[in-house]
């Protein structure tokens, strides 16, 4: 019965998990929101957010960790937290890039 569910309802696995609300042991694929949040954090780190936007970067990491904790039991809330983490990371990246631009601008002052 359980094995049948895996083979027959693989495509609907997420729906099964959501409707059964925690009573299903099938490991669902990692929601795309978490993957995207992780990628956004990596981009922010590469942009130098650890130096220029540590608050936003830490918020992103904390929310992603929350999302990972929530994942088996509360898929929807995990997705929301992951989306929030992604928003934090995008802000961290933009802040770091803006800081780089400002640094470059300051190097050019005073304008001759």
């Amino acid at each position: 019965m359980y094995a049948m569910q895996i083979s027959a309802l693989r495509a609907a696995a997420i729906v099964t998990v959501v409707t059964a609300a925690g009573c299903v042991a099938v490991a669902p694929p990692v929601p795309i929101e978490l993957t995207e949040a992780r990628a956004a954090i990596v981009r922010a780190e590469q942009a130098g957010a650890a130096q220029s936007a540590p608050g936003e970067l830490n918020a992103a990491r904390e929310r992603l960790a929350e999302a990972e904790q929530l994942l088996p039991s509360d898929d929807q809330l995990a997705r929301w937290r992951a989306r929030e983490a992604e928003a934090d990371a995008k802000l961290a990246q933009a802040t770091a890039e803006d800081a780089q631009t400002r640094l470059a601008l300051n190097e050019r002052r005073p304008i001759p």
């Binding site: 904790q69 509360d74 929301w80 802000l91 601008l105």
Partner: protein
């Protein structure tokens, strides 16, 4: 919505999350007010409307979602959408600010490039004016012509095209006035990384250019000064393009070259 279907599970998870992350979850009504303020301030910034309308639009939609979730008694979703709206509104502000800074950089670079161009043109104009004066000078006197640093490829002895044109005219002048001799003096500065032999190489390049244009080699000589004897004082940055230049000293009708 799932949040309305199982509110107990989510609010319990929220509480756990708040403990885990050091209370990042604010009450929904507070975050909604904060989101309204953040989106309002981004929308009021003309730079945001001009340079990041896309993120502003997203923030406004997220705020609208938060408002309707709050009205529909879905506080968790309202809080989530409000949080996104706050972050996206801030994102729009930061990105717009960055575009403004990038534009300032472009203006600064443009002004600097123009200033460099002006100095270069001015320096080349000087040599041309000196040569014109030489050609129209009724009394043949000892004279001097300066090929500044701008007449050479950067850091090299190779002459640029404007320099070649000047030397065309100078060679013609020398061929027309066989009684005049020429001494070519190279200069260098004390700046680090400069090839100490560059001044000599440049002076010789000028001499060889004149020889190649038909000026008898015995009529010219090339020598160089070290960094201790620059063409102009090193300390004035405006004179920088004269440093590492080459002086071309012309004799009078009797082959006499005025000493510096």
């Amino acid at each position: 919505m799932i949040s309305t279907r199982k509110p107990l599970t989510i609010s319990a998870a929220c509480a756990v999350a708040a403990i885990l992350s050091g209370c990042v979850t604010a009450p929904a009504d507070n975050s909604l007010a904060e989101a309204r303020a953040a989106v309002g301030s981004a929308a009021a910034n003309p730079d945001v409307a001009r340079y990041d309308a896309l993120d502003l639009d997203t923030a406004q939609k997220q705020l609208a979602n938060a408002e309707s979730a709050a009205a529909g008694d879905a506080p968790d979703m309202a809080h989530h959408e409000a949080y996104l709206a706050i972050r996206t509104a801030k994102l729009a502000q930061v990105r717009a600010d960055q575009v403004v800074a990038q534009q300032r950089i472009a203006v600064a670079d443009g002004a600097r490039a123009q200033a460099q161009l002006d100095a270069r043109e001015l320096a080349q104009l000087d040599a041309r004016a000196q040569l014109d004066h030489l050609n129209t000078d009724p009394a043949p006197r000892s004279a001097m012509l300066v090929l500044t640093d701008d007449y050479f490829e950067p850091g090299a002895a190779q002459l640029t095209r404007p320099a070649a044109k000047i030397l065309d005219d100078l060679a013609q002048f020398l061929i027309a006035h066989p009684e005049r001799r020429v001494r070519i003096e190279g200069h260098s500065d004390a700046s680090a990384g400069t090839d100490p032999a560059l001044s000599l190489h440049r002076a010789e390049a000028v001499r060889m250019a004149l020889v190649a244009r038909g000026v008898d080699p015995v009529r010219s000589e090339a020598l160089a000064y070290g960094p201790a004897d620059p063409l102009t004082a090193n300390e004035n940055p405006a004179d920088r393009h004269f440093i590492r230049g080459v002086e071309i000293l012309l004799s009078d009708n009797h082959g006499q070259i005025a000493s510096r």
